[in-house]
Symmetry: C2
């Protein structure tokens, strides 16, 4: 097993909302979450003290962050400071995103 | 200008090694760097106190991290604790990677 190159089968897996499946790995200070969202899935509005950045890898999704709303596609990036409420809704296709958190979200290890 | 959805033209840009171009954005605690590497580019061996995670988005590259070496392709992930030496070499195609650092690398703002 590599120290530095985690494979998908070595990651922790969680279903965090219906149709929203994550696999995670982490350093002491950073958590990587690869998020697979089914069509018409909803990440319900929530907030956490962790800073969160990410990129949409495949598909499309409506992101609502604070008082802003934008439909994102592959290559689009988000930067969400800790404490800011956010929600995500996918459209009619499977969607994949990469999220990174600091500090590590212990509940996703 | 969005607080949460930075566009490429709003990012800072740097060429950090010959043929290695980055655009960055950040929260207080996380820096996102979209890295475009030309064919046969080299990120010379280096280390920094920041933790670094990332994903290869397009292309292929040889990653040497600590005492491990692996050829990565799109979708592959790395987790590099602070202080661990690393080097990257692209092959014969343009390659794109996403890197995230904590703390923010002030020199890339």
């Amino acid at each position: 097993m590599s120290r530095f190159f985690p494979t998908p089968d070595e990651c922790a897996r969680h279903t965090i909302f219906p149709g929203v499946h994550i696999r995670t790995c982490a350093t002491d200070r950073l958590m990587v979450s690869v998020v697979d969202l089914e069509p018409h899935a909803v990440v319900e509005e929530h907030a956490h003290p962790h800073d969160q950045v990410g990129m949409l890898l495949e598909g499309k999704a409506i992101f609502i962050v604070g008082d802003e709303q934008k439909t994102l596609q592959a290559g689009d990036v988000w930067c969400i400071p800790g404490g800011v409420r956010h929600k995500v809704i996918t459209l009619d296709q499977p969607t994949r995103a990469l999220d990174i958190f600091t500090p590590v979200r212990e509940e996703y290890l």
